[in-house]
């Protein structure tokens, strides 16, 4: 439960920004995430739900439009920010998270272990520069600067718990009882 922009108390719809669609474990993981969302009083929406199936020259444009429509229909975002094919998160996931930030909607991410960036397994010299000459930030956060606009948790359920605490604070402030986690 949360209070939406129209002042209505309802379950928030969570955009599950992730790279699971590329993995064989996708269905299993999404099923688990949705169950956890339900536990915390959220409705989880997986971007791939209802993806276009008809082939055609404009197929990928239609997939983009489809995912973007899902984003616009959500109240908040929880993003999977684990490393993807190297030391960076999935760029599509980061993009989606950024859109929620711009819209002023609650934005959360999870990174397994929540290790500060400087302590991550990135090859660097004694001055903190990687082999391509890019410095590794040492700013008390698991990601580079702009990600501090996002609340980072160590796993999906912890991210839901963070969001729940924020929404409960909002509910209590407005005279409602906090949501009872199942």
């Amino acid at each position: 439960m949360f209070i939406d922009r129209n002042g209505k108390v309802r379950k928030p719809v969570v955009y599950l920004a992730d790279f699971e669609m590329f993995l064989p474990t996708c269905q299993e993981t999404v099923k688990y995430w949705k169950k956890v969302c339900d536990k915390y009083g959220f409705i989880g929406l997986f971007p791939g739900e209802g993806d276009p199936v008809e082939p055609g020259e404009d197929y990928w444009q239609r997939v983009f439009d489809h995912d973007y429509t899902h984003m616009r229909n959500c109240d908040m975002c929880i993003a999977q920010l684990d490393d993807w094919r190297g030391h960076e998160c999935d760029s599509g996931t980061a993009f989606e998270l950024g859109w929620f930030i711009a819209k002023g909607l609650p934005s959360y991410g999870f990174y397994t272990g929540k290790t500060p960036l400087i302590n991550r397994d990135i090859e660097k010299d004694e001055d903190g520069y990687d082999p391509d000459g890019f410095g590794v930030e040492d700013r008390e956060y698991p990601f580079e600067n702009m990600f501090t606009l996002v609340k980072i948790a160590s796993d999906f359920e912890s991210a839901c718990s963070l969001a729940r605490a924020d929404f409960d604070e909002q509910l209590i402030k407005n005279g409602y009882a906090p949501y009872e986690v199942k």
Binding site: F22, L23, P24, W60, Q61, V63, F64, D67, L81, D83, W84, R85, G86, H87, E88, C89, D90, S91, G92, T93, A94, F95, E96, L97, G98, W99, F100, I101, A102, K103, I122, D127, G128, Y129, D130, D132, G133, F134, G135, V136, E137, D138, R139, E140, Y141, F143, E144, N145, M146, F147, T148, L149
Partner: protein, 170 residues
């Protein structure tokens, strides 16, 4: 005509000579009739407290909101066929603010062709997959990036040229 303000997104701010690079980029923007947004001095610092870190991010968020044109460096960064994560995040922010967006990369071939790790062709799905059996995005970058920005093969100057041409048309 008022000069349009450009926000540049990319990992160059992490380089040792970042200040010099930004001075060069400032001149390049001017050459094409744009103004590069003024950057906070601590943008080029690698160390800082979490509080300073957050303050800087808030300033940059405002800078993106205030710009007219957003240009991103989406070259691969510390990963196979993935750009700098912060830049992808900023592209999402810029799209949320309805900015005119450009993204440049040296090599704009599709991800499966650019991927230098082990890969194999899957006859069933008729597509390339990496050693873990994971497929690739259909374009040069992730779908969300590809369809939100004009992808330019080349460097910043090529992107500025494209932005200038679009301005002249309109």
């Amino acid at each position: 005509m008022t000069k349009r303000k450009v926000y540049l997104s990319g990992p160059d701010r992490l380089k040792k000579n970042a200040r010099d690079l930004f001075e060069q980029k400032k001149k390049l923007c001017e050459k094409y009739g744009f103004i590069l947004t003024d950057y906070p001095e601590d943008l080029f610092e690698l160390k800082g407290t979490l509080e300073e870190n957050r303050t800087l991010a808030e300033k940059r968020l405002q800078m993106i909101e205030d710009c007219d044109v957003f240009i991103a460096d989406v070259n691969d960064f510390r990963a196979y066929v993935e750009p700098f994560g912060e830049t992808a995040l900023e592209m999402g922010i810029a799209y949320g603010y309805d900015k005119k967006m450009y993204a440049y990369m040296k090599d704009a071939r599709v991800c499966s062709l650019r991927y230098s790790g082990k890969k194999g062709y899957d006859e069933v799905s008729k597509s390339w997959r990496d050693a873990d059996g994971i497929g690739f995005e259909p374009g040069p970058v992730n779908l969300m990036l590809e369809y939100s920005a004009k992808i330019i093969e080349g460097d910043l100057e090529a992107a500025l040229r494209a932005a200038k041409e679009d301005e002249d048309v309109h």
